[in-house]
Symmetry: C3
Subunit: 359 residues, 3 copies
């Protein structure tokens, strides 16, 4: 506009530096999945606390609806006009809160936000049952994150509106797992139907007994066991599962294998799921050298890397501009999956999909 | 959806555990009150700071409009589209803030929220007069809570938009008192017209000199003195009134009596208003045993219990599932009363009631 | 409403105590400026980080659009319905955040707000490049304030949506400078066209090397050098410019003069721009007596005082009710300027001005 010396990025309209993998509109996924939105009616007026609540058809139809929104994000008639979301993040988080709030706003709804536990009635000693009674009067859906895994269960004792568990301590984070599946489906639509020619070998770097995202992901993966050759849990020390959890997954038909080191197994993996090391404590931190990924890691050609973000040093930025980077697509897709889920929970799915109205 | 072991509350749509008293739509109140919404025009472009500003007709018509909204909460044409509320909670509160914000959103408006005093200009030493000048540019209504009772009075010196006092120190909390009256009206519609066969004996456990909710409630109750047999203030120690306040209420015709213990008077009370003990200091805390309520308390048959919430140990959860529990109805109704009040203050009441437009 | 003793300000509708200068609708400015909104198309999908990015025509057309909104604030068809603003204030601020949020809401959009750095991913050590990647998925525009001047430059490396710099350390605050110019234009419409009979003598009390508002203001003033007789920088100690900055401004044709004391020059100034002393450190604080303004200061008849607010003791309230007070008009106008800017950046200016749609 004028002749002042300006950095190149300020001299004209935004030029996107790179378009990472999986950011294009998921038309192939949309076309590849059967259109059976009736499955979503099962979510009407229902809490979503655990990945255990989902069956395969429900996950597939949620991801299909998410894809239809991502392909055409401008909703002609926002389905949640007049509806109110309460986001209660008693454990700090920006990423997950903004993802849910962006999803809700894009659906046309309004938001009441609680971000600081110190300013809440909880700080005054109010019980979660009373808080839930209050939320039932003020909102139409609640999204809760709390470092105490019991909080969401206390709330559902008195809640009269649906709640979503957005992370309860080290227990579960089911919508993150839905976003993980959605990313895999976009990359390999056949996996959603378990009809891909080759079964996938999935590596999970982390600890399902201590990481809520891993726990929820394994539960959802077990629904698609026919497409999974095996899940390799890479964990440097000891037994990573809580008692009984490994057996339960195996009874569901998921093939599980444990490894202590990443090196040998990495070149065999089709999907590598890596998590923030900082959350897992000392043993991992000492072993960062072995379990971190960068653009020199021996990744299989065509393999994708997923990470729930925010990341630490375990996931180097040198991977960002490679075709292995599907973690940005995964983060982006989370909003669309949540849009599909929220719309279904408040009984408005008939406004954006071809199902009968509940009225 | 699948056969994982799930807690019963996650196995299907939400089943409300109990429907407490006073939660059904208040058709009887709506039918019982005269429809004179012109009274609400007096609120147009006006600050609401003290319960002293209300007369009987205004309280009745606000509650009637609240009932009409509660009976039919889906507003075909939200009256506050394009209007902006500023909620400034310099004293932490979640319940009151969410109630106001839910009310405003349900009316179709947008919100600017200030929840952390440490992030505000006030922390930099900006005067409240300057803050009010700023608010006049950015919003259409202000809701203020501040632990200093003078703050709201400083702000109205320069504010050009209406403000609601949502609690100023130990002084007043007029919209809480409106919610209290609304709950009593829903329970006994005849009380609003002072034509109920029997006069009510109201017990107030607390200290009108130190509790803003009690002070505002007594002011509103004095408007309905014809329906009040007497108000019994239950206060364990000393003189609970500020100098002159008791005499002022009595000159208005309200019969007042003081008791130091709850025991003897409880079985005589039709309405029991109890407050959080923690707010009143030591003398109450030592006497909790006497002034707390539970399902074994000698409540009169048909009596109702009110509490502004959040509660402490003075109100036991064993009362929640009894017909004495009207405190949840009271909390729920607060949103509808605030919807009626806010709409009137921004001169939009003609959009939801049958009065002439100001244009 | 009743006969309780009430303070006068609570006895009836709001009576504005005083209508300070520059608060009336700027019809004269609107009529005086040429209508060339095509200039605003240059802002489409563009970051706004520095005042260096603006040319004269762009500033004039932004202020003209702002005036058209201020003259007729009720937008029949809000142009930003469905759009999402992310306000990220990592350095606390209420005034600027509320101004942007009010502007966005008045345009019909929704907001995701981050006000507490301690609750964000940044606190977990997430990089700004990753935060920007996240913001690109969740919002349509970002407004950033950060005490580190490099943050906004880090973010634009990966952002795919436009960002506005709302203050980066001591570097720049370009939208504040736009609001400053808008206030001057409203006072003296001819200045915008550089055709006012008399050139203006502008005094700036402050330190362009340490104050972001002053730095950005001088950059914009240099675009209107033909209407500026001279800019007098009043600064009690030493060299106020960063190396090279004074020379750059002078090469642009701006006449600059330094003074150490306000006294002698004050009666000559047409525009006095004063800033919060507290931001500048010790030397200023010791000299407050000389550089503060009140209603006894020797201001030229007809001169205007501007201040970015919040103010400290350097700007006495006794000036509020004088005709020199244009700082309140300046604060009020900031919202309209930001409405014009935001609408242009998201390519919706065709919805509120007579330009071709980009579609």
């Amino acid at each position: 506009m004028t002749n002042w010396k300006l950095p190149p990025l300020l001299r004209g309209p935004i030029r996107v530096r790179s378009r990472h993998a999986g950011i294009e509109r998921p038309q192939a996924l949309l076309d590849g999945l059967p259109d059976r939105p009736e499955a979503l009616l099962a979510l009407a007026n229902r809490h979503v606390v655990s990945a255990k609540q989902f069956d395969r058809d429900l996950v597939v139809q949620l991801c299909r609806l998410a894809a239809s929104i991502e392909v055409q994000p401008s909703l002609l008639r926002p389905p949640l006009t007049g509806k109110i979301l309460i986001t209660a993040f008693y454990e700090p988080s920006t990423r997950t809160r903004l993802s849910f709030e962006s999803a809700w706003h894009r659906l046309g709804g309004d938001i009441l936000s609680i971000t600081d536990p110190a300013t809440t009635g909880i700080a005054k000693g109010e019980s979660l049952e009373d808080v839930a009674e209050m939320f039932s009067n003020y909102g139409d859906v609640v999204v809760l994150r709390d470092s105490d895994e019991r909080s969401v269960y206390q709330m559902i004792e008195t809640l009269r509106v649906p709640i979503i568990n957005a992370g309860n301590g080290i227990d579960e984070h089911p919508t993150q797992a839905l976003a993980d599946l959605y990313a895999i489906f976009k990359w390999r639509p056949g996996f959603a139907l378990c009809d891909s020619g080759d079964r996938l070998r999935v590596g999970v770097i982390g600890n399902p007994g201590k990481m809520r995202t891993v726990r929820s992901l394994l539960l959802l993966l077990s629904l698609f066991k026919d497409g999974v050759e095996e899940v390799v849990i890479i964990n440097p020390a000891g037994e990573p599962f809580d008692p009984g959890d490994r057996e339960a997954l195996e009874r569901r038909g998921l093939r599980l294998r444990l490894e202590h080191r990443l090196g040998a197994v990495l070149p065999l993996l089709d999907v590598v799921y890596i998590n923030s090391i900082a959350w897992i404590g000392d043993s991992f931190e000492r072993l960062t050298g072995d379990i971190s990924l960068n653009d020199r890691s021996a990744l299989k050609s065509g393999a994708i890397v997923l990470h729930p973000l925010a990341r630490g040093p375990e996931l180097d930025v040198s991977l960002d501009d490679t075709s292995h980077n599907w973690y940005f697509s995964q983060a982006r897709g989370a909003t669309f999956v949540r849009m599909a889920l929220l719309t279904s929970m408040v009984e408005r799915v008939h406004r954006i999909a071809d199902v009968r109205s509940p009225d």
